[in-house]
Symmetry: C4
Amino acid sequence: MSARTPAPPPPALTRWERRTEVPLLAASLVFLAGYAFRVLAPYDAQPWHDISLALVGATWLLFVLDYAVRLRLSGLGPRFVRVHWLDTLVLVLPLLRPLRMVQVYTAVQEKRDRPRLGLYARVISYAGLTAVLLGVSAALSVYHWEHDAPGASIRTFGDAVWWACETLTTVGYGDAVPVTAGGRIIAAGLMACGLALLGAVTGAFSSWLIQVFRRQDEQEPPASG
Amino acid sequence: MSARTPAPPPPALTRWERRTEVPLLAASLVFLAGYAFRVLAPYDAQPWHDISLALVGATWLLFVLDYAVRLRLSGLGPRFVRVHWLDTLVLVLPLLRPLRMVQVYTAVQEKRDRPRLGLYARVISYAGLTAVLLGVSAALSVYHWEHDAPGASIRTFGDAVWWACETLTTVGYGDAVPVTAGGRIIAAGLMACGLALLGAVTGAFSSWLIQVFRRQDEQEPPASG
Amino acid sequence: MSARTPAPPPPALTRWERRTEVPLLAASLVFLAGYAFRVLAPYDAQPWHDISLALVGATWLLFVLDYAVRLRLSGLGPRFVRVHWLDTLVLVLPLLRPLRMVQVYTAVQEKRDRPRLGLYARVISYAGLTAVLLGVSAALSVYHWEHDAPGASIRTFGDAVWWACETLTTVGYGDAVPVTAGGRIIAAGLMACGLALLGAVTGAFSSWLIQVFRRQDEQEPPASG
Amino acid sequence: MSARTPAPPPPALTRWERRTEVPLLAASLVFLAGYAFRVLAPYDAQPWHDISLALVGATWLLFVLDYAVRLRLSGLGPRFVRVHWLDTLVLVLPLLRPLRMVQVYTAVQEKRDRPRLGLYARVISYAGLTAVLLGVSAALSVYHWEHDAPGASIRTFGDAVWWACETLTTVGYGDAVPVTAGGRIIAAGLMACGLALLGAVTGAFSSWLIQVFRRQDEQEPPASG
């Protein structure tokens, strides 16, 4: 998030990142799907359980490999862990991968070579999409922690998704609330991220609307002008 | 929402849109009134029930006709469905028509040929009015889904309006909460739209207030200046 | 809220407004104190009840008189009611007088002839003060409507103040919620005003903080500059 | 918060503030730790109770001493109490010391002589850190007031931290709510500060994201340019 980075990254690292972004995005979605199956499937769906576990494990190994290659190519040594703290955090908690979406989004946009969306539309679609993916991840994890806790109000995955909507938008009715320590920690993370991401959506939408109305002024100046 | 549109729309389409905006706005209000009657009237108000059903059906047909004409005039062919996704969505869910208000508002303003409101006042009135209309639509739909659901806390239309206020402003006391899947999906939509629209109202009001105080500085510079 | 007003107000009106702002602010506080006494005092405090009623009535008459003089001086005739809709609203519901504070604040500042606060500090103090006064007025009215309603959760004036805090900041725990129609209408008004006013406080604070950190950059440019 | 200060502070005061910021920050953390021990430890942990009380008292004395020296050096006399009202407030309620963090943060950054973070990253880290420290202080105080109140929903320190998260982000589920007057006053303060601080975080994040996407436009202009 620094505005002045001390030195540009080595070109080999940039090339690696460009090439791996899209495969890694696919791997993230596979990871999410595998995790979702683990959490949502009934316990006795035996063959599928093992397959989803294998998928989760394999994609995680891919993430570890990518992290190792980038650590090597960056030439930073152990400092990489601290400088790229977001990558380190995402390696440990792969459900947070949506937070890295800004780079992937850029890479995908470039490859498609289409006329780009306007500035605010890009901010809204990026921050909105990240918020949705984080919400889904949080709903899965909270469902995992809460659904058989005593006194829980989040009992089905539908409840968990409803809870994630309430929490991301800071409405917070209180009809679905995490009661375990694990669920509450996830909720606190979702609140913090959601506040920032939806604040960005709101801010960009507000700026876009003001821009639309201002443009209208320029095209046809009012009678008094 | 794109800042750079590839090509301007054909003039025939623009002319059509100018001419139909106000009749379509009237049709939207008739649709809303008819839907409100269907939802709120007691079941045995027989002749009126059929009239309101006919109104809803007739106005929907008008919307379909308008969509077809615009698809034809645009010269985009099937791509129209994707490019004008907001119009497509509004065709399928006519209660979302307030989201198209920005164009109508502009058309109405031009016809009245009055000195226009300031920039921020227009943003506030546009976003606020859209939020109110969406809130009323959401209150109607939620009342429709919830009022005879088991364990519902939204039992009267007054409750539904109160719920819409709570939700749009993200206060969310939790005394009136949707419990059915349909009600919750509508609520999630209202939260997302409401957050963006009321964020725009707030942002424009904040900018307006700062502008008022800044102007005061310019008119009478402080003692130290 | 218009950025371009068609014509400046007549000088006699401006003079009248300058002169009456401070007395009217005092009258507003007397009105609020009288209303607070009516609402909060036990029913059998006989002599004081009549005095507070007289105070409320007398100050209201003052407001009516001021409105009539301004209507006359403006030279707008019956259009005054619509052009100055905020004044009309405040005349009918004098508890909304804090919404007119921006003019009073300006007048008071000029009289005191002190070095003025910075731009953002003025916005924060104005919007914050207005929000506090509106919150107190809303707490009084809601207490008036709710405290002896069946099933009410707002039973003491302390509860009403706590409810106003929750509502203005959009936290909305739901432990104190209006249940009567009157209380809910007041609450909806407070939510709308509170959202806009506290959004202005937040926006101005945010701009001020960014300004502070930007200034720091200018005074001592970073090592890399 | 004034943009135009009448006169620069005397150099002796500036020197004093530079030198004492970091020791006073350490003292604040010791104060917080001591207070946390007083509140959280079981009643019969006898020797430690006295030590924590001594720590709290000693650090408070340090704060009083610092206030007295600065009052003297400023040359303002009794006006210091009103001009530096934030310092006065922090002296009386030392748990609010995080609110003074902006100066300390600046001082620490300068000493470390590292390349500084970008503007928005500094605003986010400053406002976020202040919000976290205030949240911890509020959780401690609310736990102190609430944990043995009749009908309390905040019974453990974990509940109090969860309550602080809910309140700072304005989610407000309502599962953990202060019921005593003391707890509610602390909550109202946390709501007001939290709203402003997290609004600043959100605003800076939003501006940063828009900046990132705008930069991308400048580096590689779109096809239509």
